[in-house]
Symmetry: C2
Subunit: 342 residues, 2 copies
């Protein structure tokens, strides 16, 4: 059941393997009749070159790696779609790794990829540590790395992000404009840059509206969804004056809904909720969720595009190639009572 190889083709055609190889690669120095003969037999025998043999020789694997925290999340699903699209267009394959936000796993994956297995890596980092030497080591080994969304700011390479600060400012402002005065902020992480930037947008919006920032109103993502809900409920019970929630990642927006429901709080009457989210079902929720929607598909495309440019032109990736895309605020019923039933 062994696949056919060049030697067999060469044998049947009474040619050398070199000639057959060149014919299949459409080299200029092979005559048309020979090319035709070779190709016909190759097709007939369903010949497919062994990718690892040619990769070894050419020193390229035609594979990129993608490392993300989670896939059961509409944001990352869409990003993957964008990446796959661009990879396919460039005739590359995509290896896929989930970290489940576990730094140990991210570390071991990075090590797996440091040996020529992939020609480049796209990463959205795990949120549980601040140590990114493993990713810098990857770069040091000559594997280009592009960050997207959850980036490591200190690492000098290209990053594809969204206008997190502005979106968060706008989201917080939207709650204030709709009457909220005590706004909880649910954040993915204290250390991740997206956490910090979204936090800054929140605090600045409060300040500009003359509302005091209270540390107590900030909740960070926990290890599990159940714990997230628990933490949100605890906060809402402790501070019944909270009249708005800004969830700066998708999962926390959903956890907020569950927490409110558990406590019998009615959205948007008792409390208004806005969240970063790419959920397709946002408009079908009860009530429809006002969202900051990131251009997830485009993020994947752009990140992959930058990576392939570096791979194909064999140029290092520089920080100036970074891109910031714009998110969109979509107002729905969770912040505006009149929009609950339309």
């Amino acid at each position: 059941m062994k696949p056919v190889n060049l030697k067999q083709l060469a044998g049947e055609l009474n040619l050398s393997v070199a000639t057959v190889s060149r014919a299949l690669n459409d080299r200029y120095d092979i005559s048309q009749p020979t090319k035709d003969r070779v190709r016909e037999l190759a097709r007939k025998l369903n010949y497919e070159p062994n990718p690892y043999a040619s990769g070894l020789r050419r020193q390229q694997s035609k594979i990129i790696g993608v490392i993300i925290p989670e896939v059961a999340n509409h944001f990352f699903s869409l990003v993957i779609n964008g990446i796959e699209e661009v990879a396919r267009a460039n005739d590359y394959h995509v290896l896929f790794y989930l970290t489940h936000d576990d730094h140990q796993r991210e570390l071991s994956v990075a090590r797996l990829l440091a040996n020529g297995r992939v020609e480049g890596v796209l990463v959205s980092v795990a949120n549980d540590k601040q140590d990114f030497s493993h990713l810098e080591a990857l770069q040091g080994r000559g594997v280009p790395v592009v960050f997207f969304d959850r980036v490591q700011e200190e690492t000098t390479t290209a990053k594809v992000t969204t206008n997190d600060y502005e979106s968060s400012y706008e989201a917080t402002r939207h709650l204030i404009d709709n009457g909220c005065r005590t706004i909880a902020h649910l954040v993915v992480s204290k250390t991740l840059s997206i956490g910090k930037r979204r936090m800054q947008g929140y605090t600045d919006a409060l300040k500009d509206s003359g509302i005091a920032y209270e540390e107590e109103l900030v909740v960070y993502a926990q290890a599990s969804k159940a714990q997230d809900i628990e933490a949100i409920q605890a906060l809402l019970l402790k501070r019944p004056d909270i009249d708005g929630i800004f969830a700066s990642v998708e999962s926390l927006a959903m956890s907020s809904y569950e927490a409110c429901r558990n406590l019998g709080l009615v959205i948007p009457t008792d409390i208004k909720v806005i969240g970063f989210s790419n959920l397709e079902t946002a408009s079908l929720l009860d009530p429809p969720l006002t969202t900051v929607t990131q251009p997830a598909y485009a993020i994947g495309q752009e990140a992959a595009r930058i990576l392939f440019q570096a791979i194909i032109k064999n140029t290092p990736i520089v920080a100036t190639q970074s891109i910031e895309l714009k998110s969109e605020l979509v107002v729905r019923g969770s912040t505006v009572a009149e929009m609950v039933k339309l």
Copy 2:
């Protein structure tokens, strides 16, 4: 920036590459002191074996392929999670391909994988054609294939599915028990086995309740979401007597919600909806969606487990390894009025 290789290690240690290789692979015939020396230097220089060189020699890539129609779908996301988990446990890597339900794409992917790039493939087939020779060709080339969910029944290999017939029977029955008499059925495909089996459950449930089957009430998935909604609305307008919708895939359940909203139909008062779905947000929808929930994560795990058994033991996969898992009916507000607000 070239990575260190065996030759360099051997040079520094005054050993042959063969010895170094065996030391690193912990072969019994190398002395402990030598092993220690070799390993120490390897760690010091961050040596990582070239996977393609060893793969070429050993004739194994340590990679499996996964082909799915779509990833922006909670069902497939969860399956991927399960697959990645098992692959990682077996020290394998996962290459990822999306077909977007396009048969041409599935075909070209299958060809890409027919040359030793992967040691096995997990597939959920595209719904737009009935030709599966490309996947059988893969098997013919010695690449084991395991189907999951959207399987090709005629191909003799293991399949991981759910009890589609029973679930659909139960779902239809649930609508009937809650007073529905004219039940539309939204189906993914006329040709896919899951389409046929879910259809059979639907028709049998109708028959057993003395309700006549009407072909007009069956709608098949279109090329896009917009077209799905359009088709559903057209049916609802044509047949205002419809009082129940059974959507036998996730996307069609969501499209039903949108169609009903567009037409001003109130769920569950005017019309009840039940759908196959793994949406985490099902309970947060307006109204909460009654679902047939498939054990998606387990499907991924089981499919991968069967594949790895074949790869590692080097035994062919046989149809008798097929598994049928059970889905769960979760009753919520879209079929029972009293449950709309709980």
